[in-house]
């Protein structure tokens, strides 16, 4: 088995990052979202980007086939931003497609073949009715042995949640704390699909009810709101609506270059110093489903390559497709011991002002989860935070010199982890 101590043949730097707005955009196809992200990325390159410098493009996408009836997306994204005849390759590992596309960009530069690579991710999900999105997402599970049992994709994470609750004797409060935190962060992110805290959301709903002469709900706190089945209906016990990331259209782009030429693009690059990827069997055959084995493998590889420990990481964007996933992620990454992720969330230790801020962007939960774009979008947040350009949500009380992105595919069949350094 691969030793995590292996090094890449060359150093890698991120010199540009951008994203489209995340949300529901009726008229936009994936190609249009991708252009939005590309233009935003191009603007972020301090010394400018001549697009003919780009030598190859990797695109993360889960299933434009199912969502748009459109396959072979990579050369089309290249066409729409003017990059043909560049090699254009789509990479798919379900919800980890974006993070794995980033990893292919890393390997491609390290191989010596390229110096400048565009990494993108895109998903256009809102064309389909919710039932069909549910079926499309279930394609990320084992359709012959998991979906066949009636499991939806939220249902599989919900099953992990029941095992987690049983193992550690917990109720659903920790999940709700994750939702409250991530919506609070997303409220500070103008590109987020839900650019509002739950507090503001519930107040707005009370105002609306009052204005319409309807009965005004009696929610005093976010917990009141989340405990009200009318406001927060069950999707798949114990996961309720606000435990689930939304259905989202969006795209994100990164410009990756060989470290030795980073100075041509910016004097403030991020160095990509750790990369890890692991796979796992389907959920049903794993002996312990309160942890994600591929995440532990990927994290170990990334930490070893980077030569850092989990305790060195200042901020992390983790894969919170469901609130339970964030709790497990913070344990798999070594931030907290098994079962302690829930406690940490309850105690606010992962909030913006906590010891280990998680998902300052709002996470997939509030920023939105355009599946194939999410892993790339995580790095866009890291780019902004590490460069001090995160606007209202910028963390100002610490030196963010090390950050981590954790992107999960399926129920953990894939996980990819990247670590970034700013000197």
């Amino acid at each position: 088995m691969l030793s995590g101590k292996r090094r890449l043949g060359r150093g890698i730097a991120v010199v540009g990052a951008g994203m489209s707005r995340f949300g529901a955009f009726k008229d936009k196809a994936s190609r249009d979202l991708f252009v939005d992200a590309f233009v935003d990325m191009q603007k972020s390159v301090d010394k400018g980007l001549d697009i003919t410098d780009i030598q190859s493009i990797f695109v993360g996408n889960f299933s434009s086939d199912l969502f748009e009836g459109q396959g072979h997306l990579a050369p089309m994204m290249a066409e729409w931003v003017g990059l043909n005849p560049c090699p254009a390759t789509r990479v798919e590992d379900a919800c980890a497609s974006g993070g794995v596309a980033l990893r292919q960009g890393v390997l491609a530069i390290a191989s010596g073949l390229y110096d400048v690579v565009l990494v993108g991710g895109v998903e256009k999900m809102t064309n389909l009715p919710t039932e069909r999105v549910t079926d499309a997402l279930a394609a990320a599970s084992d359709v012959l042995y998991e979906a066949s049992a009636g499991f939806t994709f939220p249902g599989l994470y919900a099953a992990m949640a029941t095992a987690y609750m049983d193992k550690y004797g917990l109720g659903t409060e920790p999940f709700m704390h994750v939702a409250i935190k991530n919506h609070k962060n997303g409220g500070l992110n103008p590109k987020a699909q839900f650019n509002t805290s739950l507090k503001d959301l519930l107040e707005a709903r009370k105002v609306r009810a009052r204005d319409r002469g309807q009965p005004v709900p009696e929610w005093k706190t976010e917990m009141d709101f989340l405990n009200d089945p009318a406001a927060n209906p069950l999707v798949a016990w114990p996961m309720r609506l606000f435990d689930c990331s939304p259905i989202t259209d969006g795209a994100a782009c990164l410009l990756l270059v060989a470290e030795e030429i980073a100075g041509n693009f910016t004097d403030r690059p991020l160095r990509l110093i750790g990369s890890g990827q692991g796979s796992d069997s389907s959920l049903l055959t794993r002996p312990d489903i309160t942890t994600i084995g591929s995440a532990r493998v990927a994290a170990r590889q990334a930490y070893e390559m980077a030569g850092v420990a989990s305790s060195d990481i200042k901020i992390a964007e983790v894969h919170d497709c469901f609130t339970i996933a964030e709790l497990i992620a913070t344990e798999d990454l070594g931030f907290f011991a098994p079962g302690e992720g829930a406690k940490a969330a309850l105690e606010g230790r992962t909030a913006r002002d906590g010891e280990r801020p998680i998902n300052t962007s709002g996470g997939l939960k509030s920023k939105g989860h355009p599946v194939g774009a999410s892993g790339v979008g995580q790095v866009v947040e890291i780019w902004h935070q590490m460069r001090g350009e995160a606007g209202d949500r910028q963390l100002r009380d610490r030196d963010i010199n090390l950050a981590l992105a954790h992107n999960v595919g399926g129920t953990g069949n894939t996980c990819v982890v990247h670590i970034f350094e700013r000197r």
Partner: protein, 138 residues
């Protein structure tokens, strides 16, 4: 006797006969469920079909309000939930199946660890694939 291929198609045909079958490695005695033709333990390829007792315990579950298209067609919805489960079988392997005989609309009453036994749905219905289900024992 030649073994049936270790495919989901064969697994489902066994279900239709009321049998829950796994693949067993003749080399190292490991069980593989889902069945497959390469042993997940020793990587050998000398597998055979073997019956399982169909008893076990509830490892994890979800009571699902927003169901898959197939389950919605079967009449489940936000007011009539169904329960999908991961089951620890007594032989030490796991399987996913629908969980019947529980109050799916009251998920807080369902306990991880509950002893279960297998049930075979649509076994007698022509043209319909058999489905595996479990129910609480006793």
């Amino acid at each position: 006797m030649a073994e049936a291929e270790f495919t989901a198609a064969a697994f489902n045909r066994f279900l239709k006969e009321g049998k829950l079958m796994a693949a067993r490695c003749r080399g190292c005695d490991s069980l593989a469920l889902p069945p497959r033709s390469l042993c997940p333990n020793c990587h050998g390829s000398d597998m055979e079909w073997t019956p399982l007792k169909g008893t076990g315990r509830l490892a994890a579950f979800s009571c699902i309000a927003v169901g898959s298209t197939r389950m919605v067609q079967e009449g489940y919805d936000r007011t009539n939930l169904y329960c999908s489960a991961v089951v620890d079988l007594d032989e030490g392997v796991r399987v996913s199946a629908q969980l019947l005989g529980v109050e799916a609309n009251r998920p807080e009453t369902i306990r991880v660890g509950t002893p279960l036994k297998a049930d075979y749905l649509d076994q007698d219905e022509e043209g319909k694939e058999a489905a595996l289900a479990f129910r609480p024992q006793g």
